[in-house]
């Protein structure tokens, strides 16, 4: 290699490596293999790099000028100098460089424009500057002809466009504009000229006379990135034009103005087919499994991550590619059934130094408790009194047995047993009816959620390497007392070129998050039943003083009994204060180190090795303070009768702790091939990959007598306490844990080895075919060789109709037809070919740890498979002002692991087998239209629509009885999450609900069988809409996003005869005759009616909704304001979410309301404590210098 005084000699920007037109290689991710044992070294190295990088930032300040000297330097190298020194990027058809001449030059701080004209002086090439992009093109060959027509091609600002192609429509005549943009062509009036130039919209001009023409072309995008969109599959970057699959690409500009810190929310409505469920999970194209993983695979910078989307810094995302169909995703083999989301982080920009800050403050309104539909205090007390009168003996026995009683029940017992005068009881109950306990909780327990985020990004480097570093800090004050969480994300990325044929990349990501929340759950404050601790009349705050106060919580009989004993603790309960006495704290540290090395072996062929190593640990620690109500009660009740100085629960805090270590590595070796031979273009990769995923969790035994200051704790006899030996010697029965946790280990060591290859071939920019294949092996599946070597594969093709010579529709800029077929996989690692047993907890029935059979041997288990047919159209109209992508897909998911119903006589009611099948079909449509586009005003519309219809084809679960349908179910010939209902027939003369059976008879709920139920719809929305309007005027940008979902149903909660907390409790049946006027059953403490009535068809309603999800407003400070300050740009942003909603259901319930705790639970479908998404407001500031 020729040495030169300049270190940048011999470095070729990676984007120049690919001899493909329109390729932008800068998003290409390459990785190299890290021997994980050397991770420490890498960490040190990273630190040194960061230091070096900072030093370089201060040493190098970049101007738009070039200093360079050299003799006979290839033009390629000159380009790399330009890129490194100015940040200007060269694009266009790089094949042209083959005909370029070497350059001899020596300049000092020459402006870029002058430098370029010098360099191109004797070249057979032209160049054109668009922003910071230098587009090269072939110099026009001007035939010696007496052309009739002259003209000039320029951009909208009047800059000449050399190298533009001018064609006479319908004739075999064409020419290319010269370096001044001028052209001459043999054309006559009446002809139509077609003018095209890379990066600009095509234009057609009708010739009316032979007068010289001035033709102005409109750039396709403000920055040239749009010219060369690449699809990043994680394994490779493919130009969009060369991809046959169904991809959706979400660029940084689409995420830019979103101030909510999580990526999930920002992705909503940006890509059709990617849906956000109401509990915040991402689903791609519906559901394709029963038991296996349902989330898409997340790939960051080429490798799967384990931390979830929340570990991604949204401000550091360059783009997100969603891989939807088989061709797109099947390269991920057995984990690709649910789609793949590939995230590319920002890479350092060479040469220029840049420091950016983005920050925002956010407020999410406190939950609206009126959504809970709770009964009024008076109605609640009335219902409690009626329940008391139904079985007063039970409450009296509870009083006598020192059990918990609600205040109303205690007062009624006191009245009946003569403990209090009746008039006093009545007066007190009457006055309690005025209490608004729920209102107090709304005011004092809940609060607005406040968040802050700060992001600092540094980018820069030299021609040898580029570095990007970002640090983000997010802090949240939760929406209830004592809750908060914080997260810091640190990213560092280095790209080196130590040799002209070698590229090295290193990236690292560190996530550290902490959270704090009360141990006592918030729903426990909102669940009102006779046996729960809270009731609507309980006032947690003294209305006069505003101070937290005690509520009635302990049976007075117990208080009296303990009052006569020495050494016991008070048993008063101050809920809001107590909440802070029991706190769970978590800390989670995750580190991801990765890298790759890419070596060019020959033209078009390179070899790449890389890997990623993730290591993390997390700690969860819950401390119940010794002064908490729970611990005081346990201390008292745990007092020994025979020796009152002994306490079976030692005095002090209780601590529960779990620690987890996780480690994952992936090592990959890959060959990349990419060549053009005339009209033939070939691209291929082949590689192999090894992954190991290890998880090691230790849940410690619960400790008592703990002191958080010193770390000391008391001894405790777990075995005897759990075995109940002390029970009859204990004063009372309340236990802080039952049984006390003796600790637990959980391990995982999943291993995968995979081989994969894919390739594409394109002929003449018209016909494109591609295919992929992958074979996965794991340590878990596969004693049966029949299933062991089943590869997953795909094929696809694109026909670029608009590139055909005969295609001559002026208003259609682009028309591509795509089709693909392939097979993806999904895995569940819970069953296997062996008998698997698992330890449970201590059982008093057997006096030891109970072991279960978690899975009987099953030799025939295999991957779940999803085959996808995809048909798509990509079209652009009116010079790319209207872009439409439409897809139709049909996904057949077979061999799904499902509980196969078996004869219970064999000891199991079902066995997991590959027996299920779900079909999904749908249409996806994405429309991007520039309705208005000029210098000052812009109006862009992005509309997405996705329909997804699924049907469970086989699911061999035998639903034995109607109560199997208390939750949505999977059932053959119905959509997934199908809802079935009892056909309500009103009440009988005793106030019990009755229902129609299939014969039309009115019968009670117990007599309703499976066949008597009716199908009411599915919980899964069939249609998802997104509409984003982006408006800009001068420096102001406004974006308004609507989302809608339709086609699903929801169940309204109902008073079911026992839930006295429901607002309709007063509408219940009370006496014969009421059945004519009400549908709500009689009141009873426990009745099977509660298992039927809420599932009546009466309470099923449409789940359709339309929401104004998001409004963002950005103001970019104009240049004249920033002036000569050191800021390059600055902007102020505002975002508001969930401001307005329309719903179809009668109660105007927000269909997106989710169950407060455990939103994924089965009962969540009914929403006993539904919290709806509340309005959110964010104010942000960003600047760069």
């Amino acid at each position: 290699m020729q040495k030169s005084p300049f270190c940048n000699q011999g470095f070729i920007p990676s984007r120049l490596l690919l001899p493909v037109r329109g390729v932008d290689e800068k998003r290409k991710t390459r990785t190299f293999r890290i021997p994980w044992k050397k991770s420490l070294l890498i960490m040190k190295l990273t630190g040194i790099l960061l230091l070096a990088f900072c030093l370089q930032l201060s040493a190098k300040s970049i101007a738009q000028s070039v200093t360079y000297s050299g003799q006979n330097i290839p033009l390629k190298q000159i380009f790399s100098v330009i890129e490194n020194q100015t940040g200007y990027m060269v694009s266009g058809n790089m094949e042209l460089l083959r005909v370029s001449n070497p350059v001899t030059i020596s300049v000092q701080s020459m402006p870029i424009e002058n430098f370029l004209s010098l360099v191109f002086k004797n070249q057979p090439l032209n160049y054109h500057l668009v922003g910071k992009d230098i587009i090269i093109s072939r110099k026009p060959y001007i035939p010696p002809t007496q052309a009739a027509l002259k003209g000039r091609i320029a951009d909208t600002l009047g800059n000449a466009l050399p190298g533009a192609t001018i064609r006479v429509k319908g004739k075999n005549t064409s020419t290319i504009s010269d370096s001044e943009g001028n052209f001459t062509i043999d054309a006559v009036p009446g002809d139509v000229l077609q003018v095209s130039f890379v990066g600009f919209f095509k234009k057609e001009v009708k010739i009316n006379s032979l007068a010289p023409l001035a033709i102005f072309l409109v750039p396709q995008s403000v920055n040239m990135a749009a010219v060369a969109i690449t699809v990043n599959t994680g394994y490779q970057s493919i130009p969009r034009e060369r991809a046959t699959g169904s991809y959706a690409i979400i660029g940084a500009d689409q995420l830019n103005n979103k101030l909510r810190p999580d990526l999930q929310a920002a992705l909503e409505a940006q890509a059709p087919g990617l849906a956000l469920t109401k509990d915040g999970r991402i689903e791609i194209r519906g559901v394709s499994t029963f038991n296996a993983e349902t989330s898409p695979l997340i790939i960051v910078d080429g490798y799967p991550i384990t931390g979830g989307l929340e570990s991604i810094n949204i401000d550091n995302v360059e783009n997100v590619t969603v891989l939807k169909d088989a061709v797109a995703a099947s390269i991920y083999g057995s984990r690709s059934s649910n789609g793949v989301i590939v995230i590319t982080t920002k890479k350092g920009k060479s040469g220029t130094m840049s420091v950016g800050y983005r920050g925002s403050f956010g407020l999410i309104q406190k939950p609206d408790l009126s959504y809970l539909n709770r009964s009024s205090t008076a109605d609640y007390i009335d219902a409690e009194a009626e329940l008391y009168s139904q079985s007063s003996f039970l409450y009296q026995a509870q009083y006598a047995g020192y059990s918990y009683l609600s205040k109303v029940n205690y007062l009624l017992v006191a009245k009946d047993l003569g403990l209090m005068p009746a008039t006093e009881v009545d007066a007190e109950i009457e006055s309690m009816k005025q209490n608004d306990g729920l209102g107090q909780l709304q005011k004092y327990l809940f609060r607005n959620q406040l968040s802050q985020q700060h992001n600092i990004s540094l980018s820069g480097g030299s021609d040898k390497n580029t570095t990007a570093a970002t640090i983000k800090y997010v802090t949240n004050r939760g929406n209830t007392l004592y809750t908060e969480n914080d997260r810091a994300i640190f990213d560092l990325r280095n790209d080196w070129k130590p040799h002209k044929n070698v590229t090295v990349k290193l990236f690292s990501n560190i996530n550290y998050s902490t959270s704090k929340a009360p141990l006592r759950t918030i729903p426990s404050f909102l669940e009102y039943y006779s046996a729960t601790m809270f009731h609507p009349y309980d006032l947690v705050v003294n209305p006069e003083t505003g101070q937290y106060q005690d509520i009635f919580a302990t049976n007075p009989a117990k208080i009296d009994r303990y009052a006569n004993m020495d050494g016991l603790k008070p048993m008063d309960y101050n809920p809001l204060e107590d909440l802070g006495n029991e706190i769970t704290r978590t800390q989670n540290f995750q580190m991801r180190l990765g890298g790759s090395i890419n070596v060019k072996l020959m033209e078009g062929l390179n070899i790449e090795g890389g890997g990623v190593w993730i290591r993390g640990n997390s700690v969860t620690k819950s401390i119940s303070g010794k002064d908490s109500y729970r611990m005081r009660l346990a201390y008292n009740d745990g007092t020994s009768i025979s020796n009152p100085s002994k306490h079976y629960i030692p005095d002090g805090d209780m601590v529960q702790e779990g620690r987890t270590l996780n480690q994952t590595y992936t090592i990959r070796g890959q060959l990349n091939f990419n060549r053009s031979f005339g009209k033939h273009q070939v691209m291929a990769i082949a590689g192999t990959e090894v992954t190991r995923d290890v998880w090691d969790n230790n849940t410690y035994p619960t400790r008592f007598g703990y002191d958080d200051q010193s770390g000391t704790f008391a001894t405790f006899n777990y075995a005897d306490y759990n075995a109940g030996i002390y029970n009859s010697d204990m004063l009372g029965t309340s236990k802080p844990q039952n049984p006390v946790n003796i600790g637990q280990y959980n391990y995982r060591d999943n291993r995968f080895v995979s081989w994969y290859a894919n390739g594409s071939y394109e002929f003449d920019y018209r016909f494109l075919v591609s295919g992929s294949i992958r074979l996965d092996q794991t340590n878990f599946f596969g004693t049966n060789p029949d299933y062991r070597y089943k590869p997953l594969w795909s094929v696809g093709g694109t026909y670029k109709l608009s590139n055909e010579a005969f295609f001559n529709v002026p208003w259609i800029t682009k028309l591509y037809l795509r089709s693909s077929y392939g097979i993806n996989g999904n895995i569940s690692l819970n069953s296997g070919p062996f008998l698997i047993i698992s330890p449970g907890s201590f059982s008093n029935y057997t006096g030891d740890i109970a072991y279960n059979i978690s899975s009987p041997p099953n030799n025939s288990l295999r991957w779940e498979k999803t085959s996808t047919n995809n048909y798509g159209i990509d079209a652009s109209f009116f010079n790319n002002r209207l872009n439409v992508t439409a897809d139709y897909y049909f996904r057949k998911s077979v061999d799904l692991l499902a509980p196969d119903m078996v004869d219970p006589t064999i000891g199991y009611t079902s066995l997991t087998k590959n027996v299920g099948q779900i079909n999904n079909k749908g249409i996806e449509l994405s429309i991007n239209a520039d309705i208005l586009r000029d210098k000052e005003v812009g109006w862009n519309v992005l509309a997405t629509y996705a329909s997804n219809k699924n049907e469970v084809i086989s699911y061999n679960v035998n639903y034995l009885y109607a109560t199997s349908f208390l939750t949505s179910v999977n059932r053959e010939n119905y959509p997934a999450n199908a809802v079935f209902s009892y056909r309500n027939a009103g009440l009988d003369e005793n106030g019990s609900p009755i229902y129609y059976n299939q014969k039309g008879d009115k019968v009670n709920g117990g007599a309703i069988g499976v066949d008597d139920l009716v199908y009411s719809g599915t919980l899964r929305p069939k249609n998802t809409f997104g509409l984003t309007n982006n408006l800009s005027y001068k420096s102001l940008q406004l974006s308004v996003m609507f989302v809608a979902k339709t086609g699903n149903v929801l169940r309204r909660t109902a008073f079911d005869g026992t839930n006295i907390q429901h607002k309709d409790v007063a509408k219940r049946w009370r006496q014969p005759g009421d059945e004519k006027t009400t549908i709500y059953p009689k009141l009873s403490a426990f009745s099977l009616d509660a298992f039927y009535f809420p599932f009546s068809d009466t309470f099923v309603e449409s789940g359709d909704f339309l929401k104004l999800r998001d409004v963002t407003l950005a103001y970019n400070l104009p240049k004249k304001v920033i002036g000569k300050s050191f800021f390059k740009n600055a902007s102020i942003n505002f975002e508001a979410r969930n401001l307005w909603m329309w719903t179809a259901n009668s109660d105007h319930i927000d269909p997106e309301a989710i169950e407060l705790i455990d939103p994924g639970s089965a009962q969540a479908e009914l929403g006993f404590t539904p919290f709806r998404p509340m309005p959110e407001y964010y104010l942000g500031l960003r600047f760069q210098f």
């Binding site: 026995a397 020192y402 070796g669 000891g907």
Partner: protein, 509 residues
């Protein structure tokens, strides 16, 4: 460059030889490979929790017997109008078949017998497949699995089939005898009562030689438990000399360190909170009387703890009358007077007032522990009572009464007189069986099977062929030697086993 290519090829080769990397047992999953692993499976609570119990741990079997009574309010409102999940208790009480919904899962079958069988069969097949299957340790574990299987099948065949007729016709097909852990094998056909009895006996004899002298917990059968099972088995074959042989051996083995090791002297019991006896726990010398490893429990299987108390039922008058209220401490501890069921429904008030209720299995308030743990397996007193019955039936009234009086020393107030030896064998048997009824739990399966057993002895004072129940003024009758006392198999099992030739139960529920 060449080096790079070579290293890449090397890499491919390395990855290809990945067998070692993949060939590990999945971490965090226990794939049994040792005796100890299989041994753990015998600690699964499914083995002991649901024998002949529904998902609320209640059993309607005792509601067919003469031990329990349901009041009008309970029957009409608690069970019927409120559509109780335990309505099977009420239907059994009024002999309205089917007692349980034939289209719903049969808990006795699914959660009880056959779910526990899965563990026994996996242990037996698993251990037999090990190279060290012949070690004493392996044999001891196998013995416990055989005994567990035998106990379960013996009871199951008598619940789902007619009483065993010694020397008579036992060709009725009752239940499938499943012995394989392989889930891919089809469920076998039904065996006859005789076949099941033969299988049970062979399992018990397979268990006996290697049965461990002691086990960690009474959920696992020790040698005395296996001997007791053999004694119990022969109560049904009416080979009373065998009953005596095994019961005697069991009792002697159990009491080799003294009778005090296996019986509580009720004179030494007290209430933990004497001021509140209904909700109070019982204090026993070892503080274990409320636990499955109570010193009196030889072989533990969960029992119905709710029968005889409010919301479920009351003890029948006949049952209460069995006790000597003045002297018998069982009466003092088990039979407490408490507020009965009271409700107003559709304008009618039902008030049972104060009622004597069976508090033996009542939970001390707020705990999940009964005052006295009971078992439907075997208690040591039952071993003694089996020996007494064998003595009485073998016409050894002196020995029989000695056994009875030994037990009563631990049950009656100190100083209470012994029972005298009755004048006739029949009276002796009657006395022994009365003591048996007092001692065994009021609910669940024991009295049900005893009534079926005595049903063969028509004409004897302890034998009843008709059981009469009242609800308010209405009277219902059930016939012991009829289908009334045989539980039909559930439709979801019958549907999957058409080969059994049993038509589906289409009776309305």
């Amino acid at each position: 460059m060449r080096k790079l290519i070579y290293s890449f090829i090397g890499g491919i080769v390395m990855f290809s030889s990945c067998e070692k990397f993949l060939d590990i047992k999945p971490k965090g999953k226990l794939i049994p490979g040792e005796i100890a692993d299989y041994n753990h499976l015998l600690d699964n609570p499914d083995i002991v929790r649901f024998p002949f119990l529904n998902n609320n741990s209640e059993s309607f079997l005792a509601y067919l017997t003469d031990n329990l009574e349901i009041s009008e309010g309970m029957g009409k409102v608690y069970y019927k109008a409120n559509n109780s999940p335990n309505i099977g208790n009420y239907y059994a009480y009024i002999f309205r078949a089917p007692y349980k919904n034939p289209n719903l899962p049969d808990y006795f079958w699914e959660s009880g017998t056959y779910r526990s069988m899965k563990y026994f069969n996996n242990v037996i097949d698993g251990i037999k497949s090990l190279p060290d299957a012949n070690t004493p340790e392996a044999k001891a574990v196998l013995s416990q699995a055989y005994a567990g299987r035998a106990w379960s099948y013996l009871n199951t065949t008598l619940v789902y089939g007619p009483m065993y007729h010694p020397g008579g016709d036992n060709s009725t097909k009752t239940i499938p005898y499943l012995t394989s852990s392989d889930v891919s094998k089809p469920v076998p056909g039904l065996s006859t009562q005789q076949e099941i009895f033969d299988y049970v006996l062979s399992d018990l004899h397979a268990a006996l030689p290697n049965a461990p002298g002691v086990t960690n917990y009474p959920s696992r059968p020790n040698k005395a438990a296996v001997l007791s099972m053999l004694a119990y088995y022969h109560l049904f074959t009416q080979k009373y000399d065998s009953v005596f042989y095994y019961a005697d051996a069991a009792w002697k083995l159990a009491t080799k360190n003294g009778v005090d090791k296996v019986l509580y002297d009720y004179n030494q019991l007290s209430y933990s909170n004497p001021g509140n006896i209904l909700s109070s726990a019982i204090v026993s010398p070892d503080n274990k009387i409320h636990l499955p490893n109570s010193r009196e429990i030889l072989f533990y299987r969960s029992s119905d703890l709710k029968a005889g108390r409010i919301s479920a039922s009351y003890p029948s008058e006949e049952f209460i009358q069995l006790f000597d209220a003045d002297h018998d401490l069982r009466y003092s501890y088990y039979l407490l007077t408490a507020t009965g069921y009271k409700t107003t429904f559709s304008g009618t008030t039902y008030d049972d007032g104060q009622r004597i209720q069976y508090y033996r299995g009542a939970y001390a308030t707020g705990t999940s522990y009964p005052k006295f743990e009971m078992t439907c397996g075997f208690s040591y007193p039952e071993v003694l009572l089996m020996r007494a019955e064998a003595n009485a039936r073998l016409n050894k009234p002196g020995e029989a009464m000695a056994d009875i009086n030994l037990l009563r020393k631990y049950r009656l107030k100190t100083g209470s007189p012994d029972l005298a030896i009755p004048p006739s064998q029949e009276a002796t048997i009657q006395l022994v069986l009365e003591e048996r009824r007092r001692e065994l739990p009021i609910g669940h399966i024991k009295r049900f099977l005893d009534l079926k057993r005595y049903g063969l002895e028509t004409g004897k004072p302890w034998s009843k062929t008709i059981i009469e129940h009242r609800v308010g003024t209405e009277i219902y009758q059930g016939h012991v030697n009829s289908e009334d006392f045989i539980i039909p198999k559930s439709n979801n099992v019958l549907k999957l086993n058409p080969g059994w030739g049993i038509p589906l139960d289409e009776r309305p529920f």
